[in-house]
């Protein structure tokens, strides 16, 4: 049981990163980005190419992948989302599904359906008080916590963070105060891309990289973000931890194939009984 909770917390930390990315994009651009799963996949493949094909050490590969992928998402925003900015959330979310098809299948076309692994040594699991902890899990916890802390500081205490919160709150007022919305949006995509790259690399270390890896997380990511009340980064992190633990612990009673279904059930219950999420203050319309 304690082992399951621990595994769940680690899974939750991985899910938290794209969930924060999703929630940031939602609060700035006002649409749920269905490409978030494919972004995870694509960034993991970029890191894998740099690590295995180009022979860079994993850390360098991950950093470079994050930069490249941030650039890619900024360009995607220019090409796809910017022309559609004023067309409402439905158009944008359908467009994001289109982006998702393109990203995921570019990966499949380039790398095939085979599962790939990073070039890292396999380490023996450690044992603490009877709990089994992998080296990867320790790395995951440290990296994910550091990333979340960095995002928190960025949002709370930097001019960019203030600009993002202002645009999220009231774009017109923010514009009137001289905040450049387009620049804020570009940075939002860049931060989201870096967060998904970190998550993509962590998932790749923990399991393997295949074209469907993002797809298998997408419902958990959405569940986490909705649980936290879409638009609240801290809520998304808490939501992710709850979803991670619930998924792992549910394997005691339900077959583990039904993980995504458990996330879905969490969304369904939440939407029925507390649609504003755990920490959401924003009143959702209707």
């Amino acid at each position: 049981m304690a082992q399951l909770v621990l595994n769940g917390l680690i899974t939750g930390m991985i899910v938290a990163l794209p969930a924060v990315a999703l929630t940031l994009i939602f609060s700035i651009l006002k649409f749920p980005n269905f490409a978030i799963g494919a972004m995870l996949t694509a960034s993991a493949y970029i890191a894998w190419s740099l690590n295995v094909l180009a022979g860079l050490p994993l850390l360098a590969a991950a950093v470079l992948a994050a930069l490249l992928f941030a650039l890619a998402m900024v360009l995607t925003d220019r090409a796809v989302f910017r022309p559609l900015r004023e067309r409402g959330p439905i158009t944008l979310l359908v467009a994001s599904m289109g982006v998702s098809f393109v990203l995921e299948n570019l990966c499949r076309l380039a790398f095939g359906n085979l599962a790939r692994n990073f070039d890292i040594p396999i380490a023996r699991p450690h044992r603490f008080w009877g709990l089994r902890v992998n080296q990867e899990q320790i790395t995951t916890a440290i990296v994910a916590l550091a990333a979340m802390a960095a995002v928190y500081l960025l949002l709370r205490h930097s001019p960019l963070g203030r600009a993002m919160r202002a645009v999220a709150d009231n774009p017109a007022l923010a514009a009137a105060r001289g905040i450049d919305r387009d620049r804020t949006i570009l940075w939002t995509w860049a931060i989201a891309a870096v967060l998904t790259t970190i998550a993509g690399v962590l998932v790749g270390m923990d399991r393997a990289i295949d074209p469907l890896m993002g797809w298998s997380y997408i419902i958990s990511i959405f569940a986490a973000a909705i649980l936290g009340g879409l638009g609240s980064p801290v809520g998304a992190v808490l939501g992710a931890l709850v979803i991670g633990v619930v998924q792992e612990v549910s394997t005691l009673v339900i077959a583990s194939n039904y993980r995504q279904a458990v996330s879905f059930a969490a969304i369904a219950l939440l939407l029925l009984f507390r649609p504003q999420g755990l920490l959401g203050q924003r009143r959702i319309k209707r």
Binding site: I90, G98, S100, L109, F222, F264, P275, R286
Partner: protein
Amino acid sequence: MIAYLVTILTLVSIAAIVALALNLQWGLCGMVNFGIVGFVALGAYTTALLALAGTGPILALAGAVAVCALAGGLVALLSVRLSEEYLAIVTLGFGEIVRVVSLNEAWLTGGALGLPGIPRPLIESVPSESYDWVFLGLCLLALAAVFLLLESLTRSPFGRLVRAVRDDDVVAATLGKNVLRTRVVAFAVGSGVTAVAGGLQAFHFSYIDPSQFTPIVSAYAFMAVIAGGRGSNRGILLGACTVMVLLEGSRFLKDFVEVLDAEQLASIRLILIGLGLILFLIYRPQGFGREPRRSAGSLLGEAAADGRERTS
């Protein structure tokens, strides 16, 4: 070659039914259904299970329609308190659940092996060499029936209500319309229509397994609706045929371009659909077709002359 064409036409008409259903949900009512493949699968499995239990094809199909309409209504109800964006994720989750259940509950669905030996309609009374033609006829008949049903629905007061709810639910509510019921009914009817497509697919292959119901089914439907023009049933019919013929035709590419295998072709197809969706949304959001709308002038003219419906 002819046999190949008949098969393609059969698949095109099945896909067109899915696209028409999506048009009712998304095009007319603004409810994005990313899990439409889940409803197709649910319809196919229900039809297959009932047909295998010996109910006969008509009852099996009717049962599937009922089950899917009920499921669609419940899914739509889940997101009643929220804006439309949430329905998209709820439907995606629904599709995933259908997939996971069909893959894992082998006692019911045969798991990854699927359900073989689904009895095809009219198989005894038709000579086997012309059976494909007869089945194509059945599919076209179903497509025509669905088209006529949805077309009359679109032009009925309910159709206007549905569009009013899509364009501004607050205004519709202010005018005393029941927004919630409208959405749930529209979504349920759409889901029922998808069940017909699923059932026909089960009969066509006489064998179903989870690998037939991949997101590409949803992708085709979205592409057909956006290319055909949201809201226009006629446009969708045209859009679905164009999309399917182009994409199915790309199978021929395999014979010319030998470096590509089937898997790569499938991914190229999805990349093209993704790009197509984006380009249409940016450059031609109204698609090739046009939503039938009456201008105030035609309504006034109609009030005077009591008659002809014009699209403007």
